[in-house]
Subunit: 255 residues, 2 copies
């Protein structure tokens, strides 16, 4: 039997080396094997003696099991993920694979290293739109029924959360983002600030600020994260440059 | 008139230098002035020629205005915050101060540098409890009416979000966390996994996993973040060590 391996599930943040934590860099440098979706591995410089295992983006369970089998062979595996691995990303897939897989997988030396989530990076770029209670909803209905997405959107709108929408565009179901906006428009003020944050931290980063009534949901693609304000969210105009968008820390009551 | 100053609102992550991003380290090293709540400044090594401006934890607006005035004097200010500055922290206070303050403050060179949020660090430590739709609610009612907190808790429970509770303990109102648990217990299954994550990344870190029925909300203090699972959240027991807690990426429908 080989020496015990270990698995580290590592978040790289949403783009840009300046957001990769020292912990993540250390874990990647000390891994014998890197496993991940190809564009994430491409962000990391090659290293002598380190093996890379690339995969496509629709095979999370297969990738998780591949990483676990490498650990069984005594390898020190860094499974890399964009953003934070715990937010709509690889960490949950690994624990699903462990629960459904070999009994011995439960006792593997495994840890998750957090990364800057895309949501927080997008928020930082525009001001502080998440300054108060917020929620994050994936619009993908690959693995959940669409009525549940609608129920969560309505609950979040009615309870006046700031709402972050992950996975707003799907090649299989391009109409979902329009359905979601129609629902939000029926429940929230037309003047609610909306931010489209595309490819934050990458060379092709683009920010777009609009009102809920004025926003064109068709502009969202697979790299876009959408933030829909609460009733308190405000746009602060400047003489030049992008306005700030922020949500006050409190709801207006007596101060 | 002095050369223009600038303001960087910098997140240090929830504790531990290994989570401070290279961007944050760079901004701190290049600031002429550091402004922040004393325990955050104490995490940073002193630097020759750099001025520190410490303040208490209940004076966010005062601290924000102090930072803005330093920038008016041409200083390069890093305003430091624990975790992510955009999540229940300093960034929103700065934009509030800007909106209410001197007209010239709107045109200050200002940027937010995201940090690892306490929520994502806590989640990483325990597995992947945020693997699906989630929300974050502050239980502090300093700046919002308690009925709004209850409305959000109920909406989040009824729409089956994973729920993260910030600021669960208040010296002024220690009963609020008990009220919140009573409400969640009336709406959610008794067996729902609950995680208490205290001081994540610090020497006195402590994790506590229980069911919603079995958890003792009185154990939460000012350094505790609570994660309450959705109906899908699972506990994976191991032969030794802390169990994993994770929320599957999908809701069980046909795969």
């Amino acid at each position: 039997m080989s020496a015990p391996g270990r698995l580290r599930i590592v978040g790289l943040g949403p783009g840009g080396d300046a957001w990769i934590t020292p912990e993540a860099s250390h874990l990647i440098a000390n891994a014998t094997d890197l496993v991940g979706y190809a564009p994430y591995l491409e962000r990391l410089p090659p290293k002598q003696g380190q093996t890379r295992h690339q995969s496509g983006n629709r095979v999370e369970m297969e990738r998780a099991r591949h990483a676990l089998r490498l650990v069984e062979d005594g390898r020190h595996v860094a499974l890399v993920s964009g953003g934070d691995p715990g937010v709509f990303a690889m960490a949950a897939a690994v624990f699903e694979a462990i629960e459904e897989g070999e009994p011995g997988w439960r006792d593997i030396d495994i840890a998750v290293s957090p990364g800057i989530p895309a949501l927080q990076a997008a928020a930082a770029r525009i001001g502080a739109p998440l300054g108060h209670d917020f929620c994050a909803i994936s619009l993908s209905d690959n693995r959940k029924p669409w009525p549940l997405v609608e129920k969560r959107l309505a609950a979040a709108a009615n309870a006046d959360f700031v709402i972050a929408l992950y996975n707003p565009a799907s090649t299989a179901r391009p109409g979902r983002i329009h359905d979601a906006f129609a629902l939000l428009r029926s429940l929230k003020s037309a003047s609610t600030p909306v931010v489209f944050a595309r490819a934050v931290g990458r060379a092709d980063e683009h920010l777009y600020i609009e009102t809920l009534a004025g926003a064109n949901p068709g502009l969202a693609d697979m790299s876009t994260l959408i933030i829909v304000g609460s009733s308190e969210t405000r746009i602060v105009r400047r003489r030049s440059g992008t306005p700030f968008v922020y949500t006050p820390r409190g709801v207006m009551v007596e101060q």
